[in-house]
Every structure is written in structure tokens, then in C-alpha cells.
């Protein structure tokens, strides 16, 4: 009975994880499948070869990367400086403004998507990369803002004061003390924002024009039209990269711990 009490929970966790990975596994397996159909026909690397020469997918992929880099980068600056600025500000409508700043991740994406469609149409800004970057930056900011804000709240204010006391100007204090101490929060917020931007369908759907497509949008249209297994191949590669990155990060952390 005791043993059961210990293993049943673990079994549950394992089974649920397995179910979560089932569709991913299917995608990986099908990327090696020698047919477009749904039966297994044998191993092939054809889809990877085709992927390498598929201009449309490649373009969509680079668009997505460009978009994610630009918007999470812009949001990192705006959000970080904003969080620091807000933490030093005291005015009546601060709470309200703060809530407005994080609205983009608090309401269903489609609302913002439609708002951008209407807004950019009204302003007659041509839909494309510019509108995408604006829209993505708007929903990337909250991830960074909230992360940095939480970190700032956890900081001991006397550490910054110690720097001032030792002769640092406020600017100097920011570069020497504040920034290094909040950097982990900036980094993790930016990474999250990057991932969200790379994966966004709904807002991009409304905020882009006919010339520019992102990877998720391209996949979406392919899923609606009929699939080519190149997408499976691309996703398998992305999955591999992500897993590799995560493993590297763990190794790095472990070795840093061992050093200390």
C-alpha cells in the first residue's frame, strides 16, 4: 500500500506528460514518413531535403525570427526602463496606467488583433512588417515589465543606496548595481516574449498584410489547405534546437554551481 502511494502519483505525472508529448512524437515520426498520407510507409529524409529548398517556408521562418527579435528586443528596452521608471514614480493614476500596460496579455488576443486591424486601417499604415512589430512589441512588453517589476520589488533598496553612499551617481548606480541585479529577470522575460512572438497566430493574423507571412501564419494556412510534411520536418528541427538549448542551459547551470 505504501509503495502504491508513492508510485501512483509518479505514474500519473508520467502518463500525463506522455500524453502531452504524444502529438509532438507523432509530428516527429511523420517527418520521416515516406508519404503524405497518414500511414507509415517507411523512413525517408525527403521532407528535410524539400524543406531546405522551400523558399516560402524559409521566408516565413526568417520573417518570424526577425519579428521576434525586433519586438522582444524593443519590448526589453521599453519594458525594463519602464519598470524601473514606474518603480520610482508615485502618482495617482499609476495603478491604472500599469494595468493598461499589461492589458495585452490579460485579454483574449483576438480583441487586440481586431483593434489593430481597425486602427492601422484607419491610420492607413500599410500592413506588413512595421505593423507586425508594433503589435508584437505591445504584447511583449508586459512579459518583460512584470518580470522586471517583480525582481525590482524583491531587491533590497539599501544595495542601491550603498552605491550612492559610496559615491556613485544615479546613472552610475543604474549601470553598476541595478542593471546587473535585474538582468536575469530581463533575460527570462525577453526569452518568454520571444517565444510568444514566435508562436503568435491570432494577433499576427490581423496585423499583417498580404506580402508578409510569419511561420505560424504559414502553418495555419497550410493546415487549412492541406499539409506538406515539410512542416513536420521543420518542427522536428525546432524541437531539437529547443531541447538542445534547454539541455545546454542545465549543463551550464550545473557547472556554475559546481564551481562555487
Amino acid at each position: 500500500m505504501k509503495k502504491l502511494g508513492k508510485w501512483l502519483p509518479r505514474l500519473y505525472v508520467a502518463v500525463l506528460l506522455a500524453i502531452m508529448y504524444l502529438p509532438i512524437l507523432v509530428v516527429v515520426i511523420y517527418s520521416f514518413n515516406d508519404t503524405k498520407l497518414f500511414q507509415w510507409e517507411g523512413f525517408t529524409l525527403d521532407w528535410y531535403r524539400k524543406l531546405m529548398t522551400n523558399r516560402v517556408i524559409g521566408q516565413a521562418f526568417w520573417n518570424s525570427v526577425k519579428l521576434a527579435v525586433l519586438s522582444s528586443g524593443a519590448a526589453a528596452v521599453l519594458g525594463t526602463v519602464g519598470a524601473i521608471g514606474m518603480s520610482q514614480s508615485h502618482f495617482k493614476t499609476k495603478g491604472l496606467l500599469e494595468n493598461v500596460s499589461i492589458i495585452p496579455i490579460m485579454i483574449p488576443e483576438i480583441i487586440l488583433g481586431m483593434a489593430y486591424l481597425a486602427f492601422f486601417t484607419y491610420l492607413q499604415i500599410p500592413f506588413g512588417m512595421v505593423t507586425l512589430v508594433i503589435a508584437h512589441t505591445a504584447f511583449c512588453i508586459p512579459y518583460i515589465y512584470l518580470n522586471v517589476k517583480a525582481r525590482l520589488a524583491g531587491l533590497d533598496p539599501s544595495i542601491g543606496e550603498a552605491a550612492l553612499d559610496l559615491g556613485a551617481s544615479r546613472t552610475r548606480m543604474f549601470w553598476d548595481i541595478t542593471l546587473p541585479m535585474i538582468f536575469p529577470a530581463v533575460a527570462s522575460g525577453t526569452l518568454l516574449a520571444f517565444a510568444m512572438s514566435m508562436d503568435d497566430v491570432v494577433i499576427s493574423f490581423f496585423a499583417t498584410g498580404p506580402q508578409v507571412t510569419t511561420l505560424p501564419l504559414h502553418i495555419y494556412s497550410m493546415l487549412k489547405m492541406g499539409v506538406t510534411p515539410e512542416i513536420n520536418a521543420l518542427c522536428t528541427i525546432m524541437l531539437g534546437v529547443v531541447f538542445l538549448g534547454a539541455a545546454l542551459l542545465r549543463l551550464l547551470r550545473a557547472s556554475r554551481k559546481a564551481q562555487q
Partner: protein, 287 residues
């Protein structure tokens, strides 16, 4: 003496760029569709600047109300199932040894980094009539005919649950992890059974995580149009699909805007409720 009031200015310059951005690219677009929702529909494209409540009347008609009800139903079911499945997962994970725990968390987060559409596509492969599961069941002799699993209400639900369950698990996990286990021990010591201790101590203590998880699942589930689009066929029309159709197919902007406003008020209400229940932890408790 412990008052550490940082000598803050009314508005620090650093906050300005972000607030400006927010004002121009979040607040104004949202106010614009608020305005739009009260305007008259133009015959071709956009709106005519003339005040009317037409769109709000329109969305009170039975067709719209039905979609509305169905959306709520899907969102509720999604929230409920993610909670029922996710709570034990989060709870058990928090009790794992440290190394196993971080491995499980990593496995949970990594798929976030892959394309969510592709993961949905994986489910489509699995659930199709000639898909993996049907083939498996057929060859095992469990069924004689392929089951219709994809393009049903159930498949939409599966997709929703699958896409959103990590949010539920992570927010519950963080509150389980913060829990003071000595309280459970105290309850046990005072004679509570394991189940009783769970319901009277553990559950209330993890309530903030549960509530945060529910908000994080419920709010987006109302708007994720692509899952019902891909996995529900044309049958399961949700609010998200409706808004999209109003805009792109029917070109009825005021109605789309009105629907958005209703949805927005709904999610704001959820968040306000959460804030009240969870004490005045502002929104960041959600992340």
C-alpha cells in the same frame, strides 16, 4: 523607522516611453473599437460616424447568443478539465525529489517553445478517421469502423485543454511549492485524515494558484479561434471565430467591435473577481 519611502518623483522619465507606447498602441486602438461598436455599419467597409446601439442589439439575437453560450460552455469545460487534470499533476510534481521536479518542469515548458499549431496538428493526425488512434483501435479489434473523433465538439475541447493546461499547472505548482507543509502536519497531528487535511488545509492554501490558473485558462480560451477552426470543422463556432467572421467575411465592423467589447468586459470581470478573491495582489500574481 522601517519606512523606506524611496524618494520618488511624481513621474519618473524612464516610465515615459513605455507609457507612451501603451497609450498609442494599446489604449487608443482599444478605445477606437469601443467607439466603433457604437457606430453605424457602413455599406462597404468600416463605419459611419453615427451613434447607434444596433450592434449591441444584434448580438442579443438568438444566433449570437447561441454562439456566446457555446463559447462560455467550452471555456468553462476547458477550465474545469485543466483544473481537474492539472491540480494532481502540479501537486505530485511539487512532491517529487528536486532533480526529478526540475526535469518534469522543463519537459512541461519546452513544448511552449515549439509551434502550438504544430502540436495541434499532431492531435489532428492522431484523431483523424484514418489517423493513428483509429488505426490502432481497428488493428486491436476494439472497433469495427473508424470512430469520428476529429471535427467534433470533443476534439475542440481536447485541443483547448492541451493548449492551455501548462498555464494551469504552472500557476498551481507555484502555490503548492510555496505552501507551508507544517500546517498539513499540524492538521494531521490534530487528528485530520489525509483527505480531510487536504481539503481543509492544502486546498485553501493553494487557492490563489487555482484562481490564477483559472483566469489564465478561461480568458484566452474564449478567443482562441484557430483551435475550433482546425479541430472543430465548421460545427463548433466560438466567439473568436464569430469576431473573425464579422470582420473578414461579413465585414460588419461595429458588430465585431461590440463582440470584442463584450469579451473584454467579460475577461476584465474575471480578473477583477480574481483580484478581489486573491486579496489585492495586483495582476502580476497571474504570471
Amino acid at each position: 523607522m522601517k519606512k523606506r519611502k524611496s524618494s520618488g518623483k511624481a513621474l519618473s522619465l524612464g516610465a515615459l516611453p513605455m507609457l507612451l507606447w501603451t497609450l498609442v498602441f494599446v489604449a487608443i486602438p482599444l478605445l477606437y473599437i469601443l467607439w466603433m461598436s457604437f457606430m453605424k455599419r457602413s455599406a462597404t467597409w468600416g463605419v459611419v460616424a453615427q451613434f447607434t446601439l444596433d450592434s449591441y442589439q444584434k448580438i442579443l439575437s438568438p444566433t449570437y447568443l447561441k454562439v456566446f453560450a457555446q463559447s462560455m460552455w467550452v471555456a468553462l469545460l476547458t477550465t474545469l478539465f485543466t483544473l481537474l487534470l492539472g491540480y494532481p499533476f502540479a501537486y505530485f510534481t511539487a512532491k517529487l525529489p528536486r532533480r526529478a521536479r526540475s526535469a518534469v518542469l522543463m519537459l512541461l515548458v519546452v513544448p511552449f517553445w515549439t509551434n502550438s499549431l504544430v502540436r495541434i496538428y499532431g492531435w489532428m493526425i492522431l484523431l483523424r478517421s484514418q489517423g493513428v488512434l483509429n488505426n490502432l483501435f481497428l488493428s486491436l479489434g476494439l472497433i469495427d469502423q473508424p470512430l469520428k473523433m476529429l471535427y467534433t465538439f470533443g476534439s475542440v475541447l481536447i485541443g483547448m485543454i492541451y493548449a492551455l493546461i501548462p498555464f494551469m499547472i504552472l500557476s498551481i505548482y507555484s502555490s503548492v511549492e510555496k505552501m507551508d507543509w507544517s500546517l498539513v502536519e499540524a492538521a494531521r497531528d490534530l487528528g485530520a485524515s489525509a483527505w480531510r487535511a487536504f481539503f481543509t488545509v492544502t486546498l485553501p492554501q493553494t487557492a490563489p494558484g487555482i484562481m490564477a490558473g483559472c483566469v489564465l485558462v478561461f480568458v484566452p480560451s474564449v478567443g482562441l479561434f484557430f483551435i475550433s477552426d482546425l479541430m472543430g470543422g465548421a460545427k463548433t463556432v466560438l466567439l473568436g471565430n464569430l469576431i473573425r467572421n464579422e470582420l473578414l467575411t461579413a465585414r460588419d465592423w461595429p458588430t465585431g467591435a461590440a463582440l470584442s467589447m463584450v469579451m473584454m468586459i467579460l475577461s476584465m470581470g474575471m480578473i477583477a473577481l480574481y483580484k478581489r478573491l486573491a486579496g489585492d495582489k495586483s495582476l502580476e500574481g497571474l504570471l
